[in-house]
């Protein structure tokens, strides 16, 4: 096992250990408010992951993922508020709604070449943003709707719900970790390799027999799933849903997070989202113009480090590995008579 892989494994274990200890370590080290910030980071990183799946692995830049986030969010909120659903059915409704929306819009969007694809994803999300704004009776418009949280699990007399911050944190951590693990499996699978081929050279892909349209549509629906889960978690987390989260600025920020973190890497979205939300929390208590920082960083990264943080890390690791191989070969030559 090479040194690079060892380092990455060690980092992963340390990271996992930290994440599991958060409800206790963070209040001790900083304060308990940051536990919910970390939970929020997890939710948004899942959203950034949906952008990353499409852009980093299939080569489609979507600026409209907020639409599916919104459907996940409103699926839960409307499900609980208006349909009287309990926790899991509401969760399910949010996910199904976002995937269905992704399927319907994807059928049209995925036919377009990437310029027009990017534009139409924005257009679709704007249409539904405005629809959400005008239908205040259903969505509460920009002000949104709040609801009381039904319990997550009920065993006999005891109820476990997200009202308990520790339970809430672990629930979010569990769901997000599960989604990231699913993505990891997907990328290593034959379907994932097909995505990469399409990203690299879609003409060649069609010539070797891949149905580019269908594969892109599948990716789009899967990304809609991720965004929908994020939206549903967000609704549960804040007990609240608002149309303002469907605006294209929200999609755009997720694109920046995904690219700064590293497009085409598994942990890129997590790294990128963490950085921006931490900066936002730290900066906004003293200065309200943190969006300026987002804008500047976006431009700097795009010019100087388009592979993002995790992308650069990978490059660095690969170079170390190559140098290790070269050194090994050199020493071998030296020892041979």
């Amino acid at each position: 096992m090479s040194a690079a892989t060892l380092i990455e494994r060690a980092l992963l274990i340390a990271f996992a250990a930290f994440m599991l200890s958060v409800p206790w370590s963070v209040p001790a080290l900083i304060n308990s408010f940051w536990v919910s910030v970390i939970a929020e980071i997890l939710i948004w990183s899942l959203f950034a992951a949906s952008v990353n799946l499409l852009f980093g692995y299939v080569g489609l830049l979507s600026f409209g993922q907020a639409l599916y986030f919104g459907f996940g969010m409103y699926g839960v909120a409307i499900g609980i508020n208006d349909l009287g659903l309990s926790f899991w059915p509401a969760f399910g409704l949010g996910i199904v709604a976002s995937m269905a929306m992704a399927l319907v819009t994807g059928v049209f969007a995925v036919r377009l070449t990437w310029h027009y694809f990017a534009i139409i994803t924005v257009v679709f999300s704007l249409i539904f943003y405005f629809l959400a704004l005008t239908n205040k009776w259903l969505t509460g418009g920009d002000d949104g709707i709040s609801f009381t949280l039904p319990p997550t699990f009920s065993f006999g007399g005891t109820k476990y719900g997200l009202t308990d911050p520790t339970f809430q944190y672990f629930f979010i951590l569990g769901v997000v970790a599960l989604c990231f693990w699913l993505m990891h499996r997907l990328i290593g699978s034959p379907l994932g390799k097909a995505f990469l081929a399409i990203r690299d050279n879609d003409t060649r892909a069609s010539l070797i027999g891949l149905n580019v349209y269908v594969l892109r549509l599948i990716a789009f629906v899967l990304a809609g799933f991720l965004a929908g889960v994020a939206g549903a978690l967000f609704a549960f987390f804040g007990r609240y849903a608002s149309a303002s989260y469907m605006f294209y600025h929200v999609s755009g920020e997720a694109v920046v997070w995904a690219i700064v973190g590293g497009a085409g890497t598994l942990f890129g979205p997590l790294v990128g989202t963490s950085i921006f939300i931490v900066v936002r929390e730290v900066v906004s208590s003293h200065w309200e113009h943190h969006s300026l920082i987002v804008g500047i960083v976006a431009i700097l990264v795009v010019i100087f480090a388009p592979r993002g943080i995790v992308g650069l890390w990978r490059q660095w690791m690969a170079q170390l590995a190559e140098r290790g191989d070269a050194a090994a070969i050199k020493s071998k030559l030296r020892t041979e008579p």
Binding site: F130, I296, A298, V302
Partner: protein, 285 residues
Amino acid sequence: MEKLLLLAMNGLIWGLIIALIALGLAIIFGLLDIINLAHGDFFMVGTVLAWATLQSTGNFWLAFIVAPLIGFILGALIQRMVIQPIHNAAALSIVATFGLSLILQESVRITFGPTPRRILPPIQGTVPLFGIDYEIYRLFAAAVAIVAIGGFFVFLHRTQLGTWMRAVRHDRDTAIAMGIPAKRVYVLTFGIGFALACVGGVVAAPITTVDFRGGVDILPFCFMAVIIGGLGNLPGTAAAAILLAFLEGVIQSAASPTVARISSLVLMSAVLLLRPQGLFKGFAR
């Protein structure tokens, strides 16, 4: 009926102003292949410059010189310093323009504050038109927009730079082979695009609010005009802008502005999916 007439006239005039701004977007999209998410904010900067000029010099008309000039310089600088250095210019330039949009909005918010300002029209009063009393300034604004659009097309067809721009748009490699400095054309095109949006901003400032979020609404509208008019079809873009604004005005008399906006967006989606070359194919060069 009066309401319909008023909104229709307003829509028509607003459409002329948007046509001017959208032409700026069209040349950026058409020549540089960039989806400029900051274009609405270029317009917003124009309104802010108009307000600032008025505040500091007391003269609104000066803004017609100051704003496009500053806009041109800013645009040229942005293209040279931000857009050009990007390697995978295609996809990543959208992200850069998104960052730019954030920077412009926040910078304006920092310098001028979050409260919207209003500028009084420099020409006050109304004139009876088609049975309603119509603001003179709006008619003036329409005239300015028409002159500016006309001037732009004259520039495009009668000057060397304009011809260069059309050549690069048509066939970049041949243009370079013939000795046209493509990179310089790109820089100047972005500058002109910004400047056009600024002119639109100055003209529109007295009839809209001056506010750091002023560009957010303009952006989708400009893209609608470019797409429906047809990429690369400049007269089509202008025509589409006028038509769309006019239609939205008409719909607004019967329903809410949001409904009007939704219908324009739906029309744009339809065009994207069915006729991506736009509706006004006949004028394409």
